[in-house]
C-alpha cells in the first residue's frame, strides 16, 4: 500500500505528489486520463511565473509565495528567466502608472528600451520591465513532473489498485466542488496561435481596462494568448467577443499577428475560493488542496509545500485553512 493517494493529475496534484515523493513518501495518483491533459485547467495555463505583475490586483500572499515558484520549477522543468514586459497604448498610460504604483520589481522603459527588449513590439513608448519574472511551458512542465514521478515508481491510473488506501489528498480542482461548497469557477478562454515571422523572448502584457491580456512565446513561432476572466463556471465554448478581445490584443502588439494561424482554442474554469487564494483543508480524513485560481504554476509549489508539511510533519503553514467550518457559518 502507499502512504498517500492523490486525486487529480493537474498542476496541484502533480506538484503535491512531487513534493511528497521528494520527502520519501510513497504515493499513487488517480486521474481519469492517467496522464496530464485537457481534463485539468492547468493544461490551458499561461505558465507565467509573474508574482510582481500579479500583485497589482492580488493579495500580498501571491507576491510572497509566488517568489518561491521560479526556483522550485527550475528543479523540475525548463524555466525561461527573461522577465516580463508590460506595455500600454498611449491612451492607457494612466492605467500603466496605476499598475506601477500597485506593485514593484520593475524598471520603466521608453520606446528604445522596449525595442531593445522586444524588437517585434513596435510603436509603444512606455512600458514596465519586470526583470526577475520568468515563464515556463505548462504542458512540458506537467509532463516533466509526470515522467519524473513515473520513473520513481508512482502509479497514475484511472482505476486504482484495490486494497488498503493511504491518506487521500484531493487535488481535483473545480470537480471538488461537491465537497468544497465555497469553491467557484472563473471561466478563462485562451488561444494558441502560430506567427513564424514574429519573435518574442518573454511574456508581454498589454494593459486593458478590464482584462490582463498577455501573450507568452512557446517557441517555434507559437504563442499562447490569454486570458479572459468571467464569473461563470460555464466552460462549453469561447464567445466571439472574447476571441475578438484576445486577437485584438495580439494585433495591437504587432499587426503582423493578423496573419497568424489559430492552432487551438482553450476554454476551462479556474477553481477559486472567495478570496481567490489557494487553501489546504482537512475534512474528515481527506486533505483538500484547491483554489489555485489564476495562479496555478505560481502557487502550486507553495501549495505542495503546505500539504507536505501538514501530512508529514503536522505543521500548519499559512495556506492551511483550519477554521473553515466556523468561517462558513459566520
Amino acid at each position: 500500500m502507499t502512504d498517500f493517494r492523490i486525486l487529480g493529475a493537474g498542476v496541484a496534484g502533480l506538484a503535491v505528489a512531487t513534493e511528497l515523493v521528494a520527502r520519501g513518501a510513497r504515493v499513487d495518483i488517480v486521474d481519469p486520463m492517467e496522464m496530464p491533459g485537457k481534463q485539468s485547467c492547468s493544461w490551458w495555463a499561461g505558465g507565467m511565473l509573474a508574482p510582481f505583475c500579479e500583485f497589482e490586483n492580488a493579495e500580498d500572499t501571491v507576491l510572497r509565495l509566488g517568489q518561491n515558484a521560479k526556483a522550485w520549477w527550475a528543479r523540475h522543468t525548463q524555466v525561461t528567466e527573461n522577465g516580463t514586459l508590460v506595455v500600454a497604448p498611449a491612451r492607457d498610460v494612466p492605467d500603466l502608472k496605476r499598475f506601477a504604483r500597485r506593485t514593484h520589481g520593475f524598471d520603466w522603459v521608453d520606446g528604445p528600451g522596449i525595442a531593445a527588449l522586444e524588437p517585434d513590439v513596435p510603436g509603444f513608448k512606455t512600458g514596465l520591465y519586470f526583470r526577475e519574472e520568468a515563464h515556463l511551458d505548462p504542458r512540458n512542465a506537467l509532463h516533466d513532473l509526470f515522467l519524473a514521478l513515473k520513473r520513481q515508481g508512482v502509479s497514475i491510473s484511472a482505476t486504482p489498485a484495490r486494497g488498503p488506501v493511504g491518506q487521500v489528498i484531493d487535488c481535483r480542482g473545480f470537480a471538488a466542488r461537491d465537497v468544497l461548497t465555497d469553491l467557484r469557477g472563473v471561466k478563462g478562454e485562451m488561444l494558441v496561435i502560430r506567427a513564424p515571422d514574429i519573435t518574442l523572448t518573454r511574456p508581454v502584457r498589454l494593459l486593458h481596462p478590464r482584462l490582463p491580456l498577455y501573450i507568452v512565446p512557446r517557441g517555434d513561432g507559437v504563442f499562447m494568448l490569454g486570458a479572459t476572466m468571467l464569473e461563470t463556471s460555464d466552460r462549453k465554448r469561447i464567445t466571439a467577443r472574447s476571441m475578438l478581445e484576445l486577437l485584438t490584443a495580439a494585433y495591437t502588439l504587432n499587426p503582423a499577428f493578423g496573419e497568424a494561424e489559430v492552432l487551438e482554442i482553450g476554454v476551462d474554469v479556474r477553481p477559486a475560493f472567495p478570496d481567490n487564494l489557494p487553501k489546504i483543508r482537512r475534512i474528515g480524513s481527506t486533505v483538500y488542496a484547491n483554489g489555485l485560481f489564476r495562479h496555478g504554476f505560481l502557487l502550486a509549489p507553495s501549495l505542495a509545500h503546505g500539504v507536505a508539511e501538514l501530512v508529514l510533519n503536522a505543521n500548519i503553514t499559512e495556506l492551511v485553512d483550519e477554521d473553515h467550518t466556523e468561517r462558513r457559518t459566520a
Binding site: R98, R101, R210, L230, E231, T232, D234, D275, L277
Partner: protein, 256 residues
C-alpha cells in the same frame, strides 16, 4: 430621500460589483460602506444560470440588487438581457444601459428611450443610464421611468462631474424624480458634490473596485455621500465675492 419605485434606501450609495480583486474584498467593501444597492452585469457572466456561485454571493450581501444591461448596444439585446435579469434575480428593477459610442461609452439616448418604453410597459422598473440632457430626461419619464441616472463623466474615467451646471438644471427641472449620478466618479469629493447638488444617490464601481484598497475607498465614499447629503439638507450658504466677517467689527477699538 425620494423613494426608488416605492423603495426607500437606507444609504444613498450604490456600488457596482465588477473588477474587485476577489469576491471576499467585494463583500468587505459592501460591509464597510453599508451601500444599499449592488449593480450586477448579466451579459457576460450569465451563462451558467441562477446557480452561478458569484450571484449567490451577491445575494448573500443582503442589499437590493440592481441588474444592468452593461455592454448592450441595441434595444433587442437590452430587452433580452432585462428579461434574463428579472428571471434570475426575481426583481423588476433594471439599470438600462445602451452604449452608443465605443470610446466614451456614451449612452445612445434614442435607443434608450425606445427600450425604456418597452420595458416599462412590460412592468419593469427602469433605472436609465442617460446623459444630462433635459429633453431626454423628459422623454424617459414619458416612457414610464420614475428614476433618472445621468452620467457625471464617461464610465470608468474618474473625472468627476463634468457638467455641474446641467446636473443642477436637471435637479431643478425634475424636483420629484429620484436622480442618481451614475458613472465618472473617481474621488469622494465627486460623490459629495453630487449629493450637495441634491441628487438622491451616487452609483459607482471602478473608483472603489480598482483603488489600491477597495475597502478603505468604499468607506471614504460612504462618508462622502453622507457629508454631501447632510450639507444639502442643511441649506448651504451662497458663495459671494467679498468677505463677510463672521464677527462684527463696528464699535471695536482698533489699535495700529
Amino acid at each position: 430621500m425620494r423613494a426608488f419605485y416605492g423603495t426607500e434606501l437606507a444609504n444613498p450609495l450604490m456600488l457596482g460589483t465588477a473588477q474587485y480583486p476577489s469576491p471576499a474584498i467585494l463583500a468587505q467593501a459592501f460591509q464597510a460602506s453599508e451601500a444599499a444597492v449592488a449593480t450586477v452585469s448579466l451579459r457576460r457572466e450569465g451563462a451558467d444560470g441562477a446557480g452561478n456561485a458569484f450571484w449567490q454571493m451577491i445575494r448573500k450581501l443582503g442589499v437590493h440588487v440592481l441588474p444592468n444591461t452593461a455592454g448592450c448596444h441595441t434595444v433587442k439585446e437590452a430587452v433580452t438581457t432585462a428579461h434574463m435579469a428579472r428571471e434570475f434575480f426575481e426583481t423588476p428593477w433594471i439599470k438600462l444601459e445602451l452604449i452608443g459610442h465605443t470610446d466614451s461609452l456614451q449612452p445612445d439616448v434614442f435607443q434608450l428611450v425606445e427600450a425604456a418604453k418597452i420595458l416599462s410597459d412590460e412592468g419593469f422598473q427602469v433605472f436609465p443610464y442617460t446623459t444630462e440632457d433635459l429633453i431626454v430626461g423628459e422623454r424617459l419619464l414619458d416612457a414610464g421611468c420614475k428614476v433618472l441616472m445621468p452620467w457625471g463623466a464617461p464610465i470608468g474615467s474618474g473625472r468627476g462631474l463634468n457638467n455641474t451646471y446641467a446636473l443642477r438644471a436637471m435637479r431643478a427641472e425634475f424636483p420629484d424624480t429620484p436622480l442618481v449620478v451614475d458613472a465618472g466618479i473617481g474621488l469622494p469629493s465627486h460623490a459629495a458634490q453630487a449629493m450637495e447638488l441634491g441628487f438622491d444617490a451616487v452609483l459607482l464601481n471602478t473608483a472603489v473596485a480598482r483603488a489600491g484598497d477597495p475597502v478603505l475607498m468604499a468607506q471614504a465614499m460612504a462618508g462622502a455621500v453622507e457629508a454631501g447629503r447632510l450639507a444639502h439638507t442643511a441649506d448651504p450658504i451662497e458663495p459671494r465675492d467679498m468677505a463677510e466677517a463672521s464677527t462684527p467689527v463696528i464699535g471695536k477699538a482698533f489699535l495700529s
